[in-house]
Symmetry: C2
Subunit: 330 residues, 2 copies
């Protein structure tokens, strides 16, 4: 295992120190328990939006903390749920008196720990669970579908609305609408190695890929021989389109995500194919996001996410954001 | 070789199509010869700033085209210099009547082809060559030092000044000042595979790294056993500090760059160590950039770049920028 680390047991804490040093204008980090939070938190009178999950998916979630997006993120150990006390500490740090929304990806440990925190928290703390991965139902770590790339879109739109003055009821309703209209699917070309494990999470042959992979390397739909991009992109896109379903005339946000180790030159190539396929079906791409936002350490691979948008979602997607990973308008 | 491509011979063209589809608000792409250029080019009365080089280092340079940065970028084949006719076509597309500055990384082919283009171009077209890599003098593809991570900082600062109204003499002088004060060094943990080659560019053993690697995998200073981050970061930073030299009281911009395949969790960990080492020496980090900006396809590894800044450089670093990869203030 060759990684730029000192000790697997201190990777998250040392990485958070670097994050804090790099982005002191945007965020702060506290330890024991670990929380990344907005430098100007709490923002009085604003609904606080909090997320979190296992580390190793950076920039999600710590790189999404800041104006117009998350008030706080709770980083667990690599690929491990954060604890309830992290979530409670986050809620106490950023609660501005207008309530708290917890955005949880649908993994058994995450759901349990966030809901436990919500139960014991003071004030109005609500939970929404995102489960956008169409690949499989019930998987390693999950009952039901997994939460993956759609989480970034959800956090941007909901974070924008909270910044823009939505109350907790409105924020929660918007979150549930986004969750109902977003779908994703991914593929792995290579595995990744969790630092405290020291071995790849799974093994793919030299000419083999896994369609429908989870962001922790959980099994997908099938292992198949590697294929050209013109076949691979439809293999991800078709199940997404069929699921909602997305239809001619729908307006969408297309998110082409790298799992971490895939070069941008390949990611843009795949994005171009997805744009073409959607245009052929009469689906109108109105916004795009391309890059490594929901990663699995150094895994090579990608995912596609489609969100069926309306004017309300576009308004908050376009709203100013200032985080380590996403920034515009400010 | 597992890559998300169709055919090695069409990778660049297909990727550019995806880039254009993703960022139509910022840039346009023309083909034969390939040029990426600002959507609103030419900007009348503004000095045009153009760069380019082999593909495979994305987001540099195409992802740096837009308001406040590059007017155009000329993408060669992967790890291959662009041709003089690409550079000439770019100059014709974006020349706003106030002259053109070509920013060239110091590789023999790049320098030759950009200078040939400058010679045959109409109008006032000047060239600056960046050679910030302290690792080696004379290397595969290079006479003298290589141009690496400092290029992104140069393009941001010079692009900002050109947007802000600097004339060609001022832009050129600022570029030469930045080049004189920026130094970099990189390390590879793994090799990368050029699509049209199909095999890794070099081979590192399971416990071996290469200090001083070039961004095309050119040999560095030494192959050594892998080491903890607390030793690796100083091994990159010390040669940089000694070279200029950087001294106590100096104000700097610290750029911690991923070679592509290194997870952000590791990159921020390394960044934190670099911040601490600089603080211990009394060197004042006034701005930071952390992320994959000058990559070598899927190579795992990183580089550090230090720029000794002054108020003029900070002013244009902070100025608004809107590109695919860097965006703030707009």
């Amino acid at each position: 295992m060759k990684k730029i680390i000192n000790d697997p047991s201190t990777v998250v804490a040392e990485s958070l120190a670097g994050l804090a040093a790099a982005h002191a204008d945007v965020l702060k980090v506290r330890t024991e328990p670990a929380v990344i939070y907005r430098a100007d938190a709490p923002v009085t009178g604003k609904v606080a939006v909090i997320s979190g999950g296992g580390s190793g998916h950076e920039p999600m979630h710590g790189g999404l903390v800041g104006l117009g997006m998350l008030d706080a993120a709770c980083p667990g150990a690599v690929f491990t749920s954060p604890t309830p006390d992290q979530v409670q500490a986050a809620a106490e740090l950023v609660d501005g008196g207008a309530g708290v929304l917890l955005i949880v990806k649908n993994y058994t440990g995450d759901v349990l720990n966030f809901e436990t925190a919500a139960e014991f928290a003071e004030g109005d703390v609500r939970t929404v669970v995102i489960d956008d991965d169409v690949a499989v139902k019930d998987s390693l770590y999950t009952a039901g579908r997994r939460g993956v790339g759609g989480t970034v879109l959800l956090e941007k739109i909901v974070g924008g609305a909270a910044e823009g003055g939505y109350g907790l009821d409105e924020v929660e309703a918007l979150a549930r609408k986004v969750i109902s209209q977003v779908r994703s699917m991914g593929v792995a070309l290579t595995a990744c190695t969790v630092p405290h494990v020291g071995e790849p999470s799974f093994v793919l042959a030299d000419d083999e890929i896994e369609i429908g992979i989870g962001i922790h390397g959980e099994p997908g739909r099938q292992r198949v021989p590697h294929m050209p991009a013109d076949q691979l992109v439809p293999a991800l896109l078709e199940p997404i389109l069929e699921d909602l379903p997305f239809q001619s005339g729908d307006r969408v946000l297309l998110f082409t995500n790298s799992m971490g180790g895939t070069p941008l030159i390949e990611l843009y190539l795949a994005h171009g194919i997805a744009e073409r396929l959607l245009a052929e079906r009469g689906i109108v791409v109105q916004r795009r996001l391309v890059g490594p936002y929901v990663t699995s350490l150094e895994m090579q691979g990608m995912s596609l996410t489609l969100l069926k948008v309306d004017d309300e979602m576009l308004r908050w997607w376009d709203a100013p954001v200032r985080t380590a990973a996403l920034r515009w308008g400010v």
